[in-house]
């Protein structure tokens, strides 16, 4: 008979425990989970990257809904457990759901310390524990107002950096004289403070909070010394304490946390506690590595392995703020029986300190250069006698034994039991043997099977080196194709970092992301220019010299250096007046070829560059604007005559096409975007091979996308059916905006779709109304700056130099 296992809490520790349990004894327990948070298990370590914008919530989910269903687990989301009846062996949630148990796991985590000062309950005062806190902070950050973070520890500084990345003006208040004093010595704390101040975060140390000010909403923070700091958002990150009240209510032994022995058992043999709510051997824990260790031990005992024991181990600390490398481990207090080795390089921002006792490492602080953290940790764990290495120890592993080793050799030299992933306690041998046993070839595989680098990700480089050692040439980390020879970063990384680090000029991107060339190349510059145009509408000044000639001259260059000109004809509809104007221009400038294009436009070919402004001037007088036939942008919306004329037409396809084109013209996109609207399924406008197409039907508008009819031929995918024109427009605009924000430069919609998946796109722009609206609004905002006719600007004299030769040198002069 299956036993009933009930779990209170759905954080990372019980999630990990379940994975072990399902591995070792699938089907042994019928599992029910009560989660006070209304969601699945996600990676809380990654909340900081979500706050700073480097990741989405979707990217940090550990177990999606499907995982619970697949494993037959009942998950009550948003159910807080209010009572445990140890006699009847049941738990009851606040919504009245009761569940009987044979074994009960308490994993209620921790609660933030809220300073007992006046005003601490004002709206605008938040803690930093879960996704709801992050969402609230993001909402507050939209105001670009002032924020105060109370607490200069790990959590507080990550919150501060995240809010600052969201353009808030942030002040950190820290009670102690230096930041992160529990993990860093004063020197490293000072360096960290300087770095953060350099980024524009104000830091006040020795700051004792007296009160939070405000009447209806928080307005500021008052310090004991009389200073008042203005703030519309206050984040309390002054520490956490175990959330143990339910254990206390149930009559379990509780000290700081719920007391457990080294098998994770509480004072009731049928109840286990693990995670931040548990206290074992006098310790409570907040870092993930020991919590995962608890999960392993608990799962072992639940599956009948009585030998597993939890052993206390110091865990290295790392700060997850992009661009700050910091590693701290063990005991680094001064003492008579201790010695230290220190390396400082102020100019390079490097500080390394090893604390030794009887020739063994007991503590390490690394700032600015942390690659050797794993090696120092390994020496410490093995209690290795370092007397022989002492002279060169501080330089790191690469400098041991004469000539510097390359980093690969350093990893090769690590013993099998050297820890690679601190969060998940994965050693080198485990990674190597799993790669061999399961035939793994990608980083994602290794993450899935070993958990190495699956939590905070800071050991990713090491894991990749282990993979390279094990797989040799079979491992190709360059699955990420670099943008160009100027950088090792791929397009996606560059796009992410532009947002995360608020990089708003090409120069800033190249500087911050360490471009290898002084001003890029013809591949990366147009891409960066597009990314910046897309990401910072209204703020970024278009870099004209980083555009291809067609977008600089606003015409299409031809093989002989002349240009072609295509005026916009909305929806492909024209008139006698327009045609007459075109005929006059053709005569006046002796334009050799006039041709009708595939997108229902008229193309005039063979125009000399010097004539372009005059051609545009004449066309402009007839009401024409640029047709953007040269742009990585919206090209044409092709239409059929729809209900106006056609006996089969079901909707006003011409009208909708013109409406879409008028709404979207001028927008820049990663690659060209061609659209079409057909009035019935006979599809005369050929909408089913376009980047975006609409096929009108009796019941509404079928929205298609990701077609191609060029190098590749591909019919479209159907995104969905909507009932009204307004809805159709909103969905199409949201789709294009998602493409603008997420695709790589020069990647057509069909290629982007193939990469991210039709389902994902449908989920973001069709199923999720809120997200769709947000995409739509961002597009509308950026159009404010994009819908300017480039031809009339140039007729008025913009970039005059582009269209005129610098000088003409006569024969006599040249012969002199």
């Amino acid at each position: 008979m299956t036993e009933k296992l009930v779990i209170i809490g759905n954080g990372m520790a019980p999630g990990r425990m379940l994975e072990h349990l399902l591995d070792a004894a699938p089907g042994r327990y019928e599992v029910t989970i009560f989660n006070a948070e209304p969601r699945v298990n996600y990676d809380r370590i990654m909340l900081s990257p979500v706050l700073s914008g480097e990741k989405d919530y979707e990217q940090i989910i550990i177990h999606g809904d499907g995982w619970y269903i697949k494993n037959g687990i009942t998950l009550y989301k948003g159910h807080k457990v209010t009572a445990i009846d140890r006699v009847a062996k049941t738990v009851t949630s606040e919504h009245g759901v009761a569940a009987p148990y044979d074994k009960l796991v308490i994993a209620t985590g921790s609660v933030p310390l809220i300073l007992p000062v006046p005003g601490n309950e004002l709206p605008g005062v938040l803690s930093y524990r879960d996704l709801d806190d992050v969402k609230a902070m993001l909402l507050a950050a939209q105001s670009r107002a002032k924020a105060v973070v109370i607490g200069g520890g790990l959590l507080g500084l990550e919150a501060a950096a995240g809010l600052q990345a969201r353009d808030m003006d942030v002040t950190v208040l820290h009670l102690m004289p230096t930041l992160m004093e529990r993990q860093l010595d004063p020197v490293a704390g000072y360096m960290l403070q300087r770095e953060l101040e350099g980024r524009g975060i104000q830091i006040i140390t020795k700051a004792q909070t007296k009160a939070i000010l405000g009447t209806r909403y928080v307005e500021g923070v008052a310090l004991e010394d009389g200073r008042v700091i203005e703030a519309r958002l206050v984040v309390m990150a002054a520490g956490i304490r175990p959330n143990a009240w339910i254990g206390r209510e149930a009559g379990l032994a509780v000290n700081r946390g719920i007391l457990v022995d080294d098998t994770m058992r509480t004072s009731d043999p049928d109840i286990i506690a693990l995670g931040e709510c548990a206290e074992v051997g006098g310790h409570v824990y907040g870092l993930v590595a020991p919590l995962y260790e608890m999960a392993r031990v608990a799962a072992a005992h639940l599956t009948g392995d009585a030998s597993a024991r939890f052993i206390h181990n110091d865990t290295p600390t790392k700060l997850k703020v992009t661009g700050i490398d910091l590693f701290s481990l063990g005991d680094f207090a001064d003492g008579d029986d201790r010695e230290e080795i220190v390396l400082r390089d102020a100019a390079a921002g490097v500080y390394k300190r090893l604390v030794l006792k009887e020739n063994r490492i007991i503590g390490t602080v690394l700032y600015g250069e942390t690659a050797d953290g794993a090696w120092f940790n390994d020496l410490r764990k093995r209690q290795a006698d370092i007397s022989d290495l002492r002279d060169t120890l501080i330089f790191g592993q690469a400098y041991q034994g004469g000539a510097p080793l390359d980093p690969m050799a350093a990893v090769a030299a690590l013993p099998d039991d050297a820890e690679i992933c601190g969060c998940n306690g994965v050693c080198k041998g485990k990674i190597v043997s799993t790669i061999a046993a399961k035939g793994l070839t990608s980083l994602d595989d290794v993450r899935a099977h070993t958990k190495a680098s699956a939590s905070c990700g800071s050991c990713t480089g090491l894991v990749e080196q282990v993979m390279k050692l094990t797989l040799g040439d079979a491992y190709n980390p360059a699955a990420v194709q670099p943008m160009c020879a100027c950088t090792p970063l791929g397009h996606d990384d560059v796009r992410r970092l532009i947002k995360a680090k608020s990089l708003k000029t090409i120069h800033a991107v190249m500087q911050e992301l360490e471009w290898k060339t002084s001003c890029g190349c013809a591949k990366c510059r147009p891409a960066l220019n597009y990314y910046l145009v897309c990401d910072w509408p209204g703020e970024y000044a278009d870099d004209y010299q980083s555009r291809f000639i067609n977008e600089r001259a606003h015409a299409n260059i031809q093989k002989d250096g002349t240009y072609s000109v295509v005026p916009r004809m909305w929806g492909g509809v024209t008139s006698a007046k327009e045609l007459r104007a075109i005929a006059d221009v053709v005569d006046k400038f002796a334009i050799p070829t006039v041709k009708v294009t595939g997108g229902q436009r008229i193309d005039m070919l063979g125009i000399k560059k010097e004539d372009l402004p005059a051609v545009w001037s004449d066309l402009g007088k007839a009401g024409f604007v640029s047709g953007h036939a040269y742009a990585k942008g919206l090209r044409t919306v092709k239409t059929c005559v729809g209900t106006d004329w056609c006996r089969f037409g079901t909707q006003d396809s011409t009208g909708l096409g013109i409406r879409i084109e008028k709404f979207m013209w001028g927008s820049w996109t990663p690659a060209k975007v061609k659209m079409a609207v057909s009035g019935c399924p006979r599809n005369c406008a050929e909408a089913t091979c376009k980047d975006v197409g609409v096929v009108c039907v009796d019941s509404g508008y079928e929205i298609h996308f990701a077609g191609a009819a060029g190098l590749d031929i591909k019919g479209t995918e159907v995104l969905g059916l909507v009932k009204t024109e307004d809805e159709a427009l909103e969905v199409i605009v949201a789709l294009v905006q998602m493409y603008r924000e997420q695709a790589r430069y020069l990647e057509r919609i069909y290629k982007w779709t193939k990469r991210v998946g039709v389902e994902e796109i449908r989920r973001q722009v069709l199923d999720d109304a809120e997200r769709r609206r947000a995409f739509y609004e961002r597009f509308v905002y950026s159009q404010k700056f994009a819908q300017v006719d480039p031809w009339s600007e140039r007729v008025s004299g913009l970039h005059k130099h582009e269209f005129r030769p610098l000088d003409a040198v006569g024969m006599a002069q040249a012969a002199e």
């Binding site: 013809a522 510059r525 250096g561 000088d807 003409a808 040249a814 012969a815 002199e816």
Partner: protein
């Protein structure tokens, strides 16, 4: 040497180019991001593309037609491509640009 004035440095945008018409054909005068100036044939050795219309990066230009990269310093194609265009001496004095055809004239003579 005989220097002929052709305009001002400020007439050319940084990382840009403009053309001069000469009896020997059209030359492109380039100004790099660090304000160095070069003059080379406005004809790519590949298919005659107008180099003046390309993207300028470092001391190179990428041809707008088929992406050959030409060194402004030597006139030679970079990378795997083989080809060369004529270069013309050019100098900047007090913000004015001058080119010199004398070497070309000698060659022609």
């Amino acid at each position: 040497m005989s220097w002929i004035a052709i305009g001002a440095l400020a007439d050319i945008p940084q990382r840009g180019a403009r053309c001069i018409e000469t009896p020997e054909g059209r030359f492109a005068v380039f100004r790099t991001g660090d304000d160095r100036v070069f003059a080379i044939d406005d004809r790519c050795p590949h298919k005659g593309g107008p180099l003046s219309q390309g993207i300028v990066h470092g001391a190179s230009v990428t041809c707008p037609l088929h992406n050959w990269v030409i060194s402004l310093e030597t006139g030679r194609a970079e990378g795997a491509d083989v080809g060369c265009v004529r270069t013309l001496p050019v100098k900047v004095e007090e913000g004015r640009l001058y080119v010199d055809f004398s070497a070309r004239a000698e060659q022609a003579a």
